[in-house]
C-alpha cells in the first residue's frame, strides 16, 4: 500500500507507525483509517514484529476526526461504510502489544486511538480530551467506554460532558497514561519501552495482553478462570523453559516465540 498520511517503518523487532498529516493536526480521516488498518495488518502477519509503536508529531498525536469530512457524512453512509469502526475493531483486537507515543493534542478520535494502545508514553506537553460534545455529538470510537474504564465514572463524565482537556500530569495521576517524559524524549522513551516488551516472550506477552483486556469484559471469577487457562497454556511453551532455565543460569533469556 502507498502510504500518504502515515509513515510506516521497521526498527529491529518494532513496527513503527507515524501519523503524518501535519496540515490537519493529524486529524483522522477515511484515508488514514484505511492506511492504519493496512499497516496493522502487515505488522500482525509479520512474525518478526514483536511490538508496535504508534506516534504522531510533537505538536499533535491526533487532534481527532476530520470534522470537514464528518460534516458531510449522512447517518446512512456512516452505517454502510462503518466510518471509522473497522479501525476501532482492528486496533481493539490487535494481538501484539502497541505502545502509544503521545505528544501535543490527543483529542476525540485521537484519544480513542490512544486508548486502544496498551502502554501510553506521554510528553509533558500532551493534552488529552473528548471534545465531541462541543460540536453537538459524542465520542463514537470507544471513548465513553474506554475512558470510563480508565479513569472511572466521575472524571469520565466531566471530560465527556464538558469537553475539558487535561494535561499530561493530570492524566498520569488519573492512570490515563503510563509515563510522562520531557517533550524531546517521548518517542525515544516509547521505543525503549517497546523494545523492552519486544525482548520478552511473544507468546507470554500476547496472552498477558489478552488477559488484561479481558479484565474489562468479564466478572472477576470468569476473569480469574480465563487467566488460569492462559497461564497453564504458557507452561507448554518453549519460551517458558528457556525463561526459567536462563533465570537459574543467571543469563538473559532468548525467546523464540514458540
Amino acid at each position: 500500500m502507498e502510504y500518504q498520511v502515515l509513515t510506516v517503518s521497521r526498527e529491529g523487532p518494532l513496527g513503527l507507525i507515524t501519523i503524518n498529516r501535519p496540515a490537519a493536526m493529524n486529524a483522522l480521516n477515511t484515508r488514514m483509517v484505511t492506511e492504519l488498518i493496512s499497516a496493522l495488518d502487515g505488522f500482525e502477519k509479520d512474525d518478526s514484529v514483536r511490538c508496535v509503536v504508534i506516534s504522531g508529531s510533537e505538536k499533535a498525536f491526533s487532534a481527532g476526526a476530520d470534522i470537514k469530512e464528518m460534516a458531510e457524512m449522512t447517518a446512512v453512509r456512516m452505517a454502510m461504510t462503518g466510518h471509522f469502526f473497522p479501525l476501532w475493531d482492528k486496533v481493539g483486537r490487535f494481538p501484539k502489544p502497541i505502545v502509544g507515543a503521545l505528544s501535543g493534542f490527543v483529542l476525540g478520535g485521537g484519544l480513542e486511538l490512544a486508548m486502544s494502545c496498551d502502554v501510553l508514553i506521554a510528553s509533558e506537553t500532551t493534552q488529552l480530551g473528548q471534545p465531541e460534545i462541543d460540536i453537538g455529538i459524542m465520542p463514537g470510537g470507544g471513548g465513553t467506554q474506554r475512558l470510563t474504564r480508565a479513569v472511572g465514572k466521575y472524571k469520565a463524565m466531566e471530560m465527556i460532558l464538558t469537553g475539558r482537556r487535561i494535561g499530561a500530569e493530570e492524566a498520569k495521576a488519573l492512570g490515563l497514561v503510563s509515563r510522562v517524559v520531557p517533550k524531546e524524549a517521548y518517542l525515544s522513551e516509547a521505543k525503549k519501552v517497546a523494545s523492552e516488551i519486544a525482548s520478552k516472550s511473544p507468546v507470554a506477552v500476547r496472552q498477558a495482553k489478552m488477559a488484561v483486556n479481558k479484565a474489562f469484559e468479564m466478572g472477576l471469577a470468569d476473569g480469574l478462570d480465563f487467566e488460569r487457562e492462559l497461564f497453564y497454556l504458557l507452561f507448554a511453551s518453549e519460551d517458558k523453559d528457556e525463561g526459567m532455565k536462563a533465570f537459574m543460569e543467571k543469563r538473559k533469556p532468548e525467546f523464540s516465540g514458540k
Binding site: 509533558e124 517524559v181 520531557p182 524531546e184 524524549a185 525515544s188 522513551e189
Partner: protein
C-alpha cells in the same frame, strides 16, 4: 515587534521586554495582557532571543490589574468576576514564562504590586533596583493572592513568611526583599540596566537548551517527590547529552578554554 503597550528590543541575544504604560504605573489593562502574551509567544519561537528580560517603563515595574478599567463594574454595584480575568489574562502569562525553555529575568525597576509582583515572581530570576518596592496589595483591597503569588511566595519565602506577607501586606523595600530571598540581586538605580544586561547577556551566551532543561527540572522538583525528580532528571540528562552545546562544553573543558555555546 512593537505593540501598543509593550516595547521590545533584541540586543546581544537578550529580548528586552518593557511594559509601557508609564502614566498608569504599567498597570495591566486588557491590551497589555494581550501584548505581553504575544511577546512571550514570539520570544519562545525566536531562536535569536536566548534570554528574556521583563521590565517596566518609568518609575514602576507594574502595579498589577488596572482597577480603572473595571471602574464601571465596581460603580454599578455588581460583583466583579475576577476568575475570568485570571483565566484569560494572568494565568496564561505565568504559565508561558515558567514553561519557556529559556531564562526569563524580571528587572524590577521600581514599584511592583499585586499581579505585577505575581509577574516578577513568575520569572526565573529577579534583579531589583535599590528603589524598587514590593507590595502584596491584594489584601489591601480585600482580595486573595492570584497570578501565582500563593504558589511562589510559599516556595520562595516558606509558609510562615508567606503568611505574614499575604495577611498583613506590608510593603517590602529592596534591602528587605534581598534578605528574604525575594530577589536575587539589588543594584543601584543609575547602574541598574547595565548590571541586568551583564547577567542577561551572560545567560544569552549560555547553553540555551541546558538552561531550559535546568529550568524544567527545578520547576518540577519543587512539586514532586524525590524519586520522581530523579526519574525526570534521568530523562532530561538524556536529552541534554545529545545537544551540540554539551559536546562543545566538554571539548572546551578538555582544551582548557571557554566554551562557545550556540544554543543548539
Amino acid at each position: 515587534m512593537n505593540l501598543e503597550t509593550v516595547k521590545t528590543e533584541l540586543k546581544n541575544g537578550v529580548l528586552w521586554t518593557t511594559l509601557n504604560r508609564p502614566d498608569k504605573l504599567n498597570a495591566f489593562n486588557e491590551q497589555m495582557g494581550d501584548d505581553l502574551l504575544e511577546v512571550l509567544k514570539e520570544a519562545e519561537k525566536n531562536a535569536e532571543a536566548r534570554c528574556v528580560v521583563v521590565t517596566g517603563e518609568g518609575r514602576a515595574f507594574s502595579v498589577g490589574e488596572d482597577l480603572n478599567t473595571n471602574r464601571a463594574v465596581y460603580d454599578s454595584g455588581k460583583p466583579m468576576l475576577l476568575g475570568e480575568v485570571l483565566k484569560r489574562k494572568y494565568n496564561p502569562i505565568v504559565q508561558r514564562i515558567r514553561k519557556m525553555d529559556k531564562p526569563v529575568i524580571a528587572a524590577v525597576n521600581g514599584v511592583t504590586a499585586g499581579a505585577g509582583l505575581g509577574l516578577a515572581l513568575a520569572c526565573d530570576l529577579r534583579a531589583a533596583s535599590e528603589q524598587a518596592t514590593f507590595h502584596e496589595a491584594f489584601i489591601k483591597v480585600g482580595l486573595a493572592p492570584d497570578s501565582g503569588m500563593s504558589f511562589w511566595l510559599t516556595r520562595i519565602l516558606g509558609l510562615a513568611k508567606a503568611m505574614e506577607v499575604g495577611l498583613l501586606g506590608e510593603p517590602i523595600d529592596s534591602t528587605m526583599a534581598m534578605n528574604l530571598g525575594l530577589v536575587n540581586w539589588v543594584f543601584p538605580a543609575d547602574k541598574f540596566r547595565e548590571e541586568v544586561a551583564k547577567i542577561a547577556e551572560r545567560l544569552a551566551k549560555g547553553p540555551t537548551k541546558a538552561l531550559g532543561l535546568t529550568k524544567r527540572a527545578l520547576n518540577r522538583a519543587i512539586v514532586v517527590d524525590m524519586d520522581s525528580a530523579l526519574e525526570y532528571e534521568t530523562y532530561l540528562q538524556d536529552v541534554a547529552g545529545r545537544t551540540r552545546d554539551h559536546v562543545e562544553g566538554v571539548k572546551a573543558f578538555f582544551e582548557k578554554r571557554d566554551a562557545r555555546f550556540s544554543g543548539q
